[in-house]
Symmetry: none
Amino acid sequence: MGQITDGPVPKYAQLASILRRRIESGALAPGDPIPSETALEGEFGLARGTIRKAVAMLREEGVIVTTRGKGSYVADQNESRAGE
Amino acid sequence: MGQITDGPVPKYAQLASILRRRIESGALAPGDPIPSETALEGEFGLARGTIRKAVAMLREEGVIVTTRGKGSYVADQNESRAGE
DNA sequence: GCCCATTTGTACGTATGTATG
DNA sequence: GCATACATACGTACAAATGGG
């Protein structure tokens, strides 16, 4: 479950989908921290650059908010979402 | 001597080799402190992240022992070494 | 106990090089 | 050429532990 597979869909897009589902399902609630890039590296066996691309997608969607030196957190529902 | 060079060998691996030699040669004896990360930055002109990778290698080899807030020290010879 | 400097630990930001399809 | 993916490397920020005064 939640495994990244080789195929036509880029790994970073797959990871973004997995994290997005965790949030939409409520497994990760607003204010909750997203696993760190290092943790996600270990969990999915991806390079950090790939992790960062996935996280950047969610950030652009307004799903998460990132603070340098601290981490990424699930955004509040009424937070502004780009491109909506 | 002991300089880090550009090339196929990663800088963190080069630094790990240099420190390992200092220990194996006796220049650093069991119980002796390893220079702090800041000191190694200055001595070798490397970023802290690179220093930390080298030190992590030696720690995994069981060559040194690290305590947060104190520093890293040359391990005793009969200290357990992973993967031996 | 409290401050403070030092040191390690953790985390994100950015850039570059290599390899592959 | 371009996007993907990995690895290396440097920079910056925040956090926690240690020890001295």
